[in-house]
Symmetry: C2
Subunit: 220 residues, 2 copies
Amino acid sequence: MRDAYHEELDSLTDRLVEMTRLVRSALSRGTTALLDADLQLAESVISHDEEINSLFAEVESRISELMATQQPVAVDLRVVIAALRIAGDLERMGDLAEHIAKVARMRHPDTAIPIELRDTIIEMGQIAERLVSKAGTCVATRDVELAKELESDDDAMDRLHRRLFRVLLSNDWSHGIEAAIDVTLIGRYYERYADHAVRVARDVVYLVTGDRALNGSSTA
Amino acid sequence: MRDAYHEELDSLTDRLVEMTRLVRSALSRGTTALLDADLQLAESVISHDEEINSLFAEVESRISELMATQQPVAVDLRVVIAALRIAGDLERMGDLAEHIAKVARMRHPDTAIPIELRDTIIEMGQIAERLVSKAGTCVATRDVELAKELESDDDAMDRLHRRLFRVLLSNDWSHGIEAAIDVTLIGRYYERYADHAVRVARDVVYLVTGDRALNGSSTA
């Protein structure tokens, strides 16, 4: 009985790792759609979000089932509670990638990102991808040291986010209000995406050590 | 043993209702701080967020303890899973109220809200308060019908959010980029706050009926 239980837990972990892959891909394609004003790519991110939502629903219902039938305690209970939270964060990351794609779609055939911000958005996308990729490794390996690295990657995201505002507020900004709104929202989506990745890593730390850094309290 | 368990559940419900009161108050004071450029009020929202975070940590740890010692099943398990999620949403709503207060603090002694948007922000604040207040009643009473009302209140919030953008994008906008960024972010904070209140109500529906509408999937 316990073996079947742990097999199910391993299988759930695989599904969570699969979710990190899907939301990384969604963000990567969303960023490209945004920078290249690629409507088809934007549409593919938007339509594929349903896949992430379904995976989330599957993970949630399997965890509920597992809790009900196996009544895990101690570390096993921590594992399932953490898995529930991780799934929720990943689902939200999928939504945020979708939001980015929707801005790309709304502005097509124009691009929402003025030339002087392309580098910043590219970097934000890269950091976001690095964060979710590391988060996926943390989920798969339960590597607490790696999980702690995500906090400093997230600091880099915050610096880029501030740079975005500096450009928006400089006297050189010539793209008007609509572009400023787009960039403000897009910046927020990347920042939130990164923050959820950090929360995933924190939940891995919790799962392994029982230490629960309060999520959300240190976010911007 | 089961009686002590249900007493603890009732006590946890009281704490969740208390959280809804605190985050409603934070939002109400944050809105006033924003509209009146009231620095002292803004500071009080910011410093009191710690109280909400502590309450969240307490609720979380008591729920974990309860799950570990009592191993709830079936409807009891749903109750504790829902309580965990509700606590997480409320904690986040506290953060969003704090974000609003921080914009007020940043712009003080000026106000971040131009005159032509005051009414919209006042309405957004009122809807947000109504939503969290109803969410608190739902948590206290497990009233599924009331919980369903929150979805349409949230539609009203979305309409106001769109109105905000219409004003920002009108030719009459004369407040420049910085004010547009502030308003864009503030609008997003209210919209997210409302969305989390709806999620609380959905979790009450789940708790009572076992039906779990996928959270996040219908959000903007």
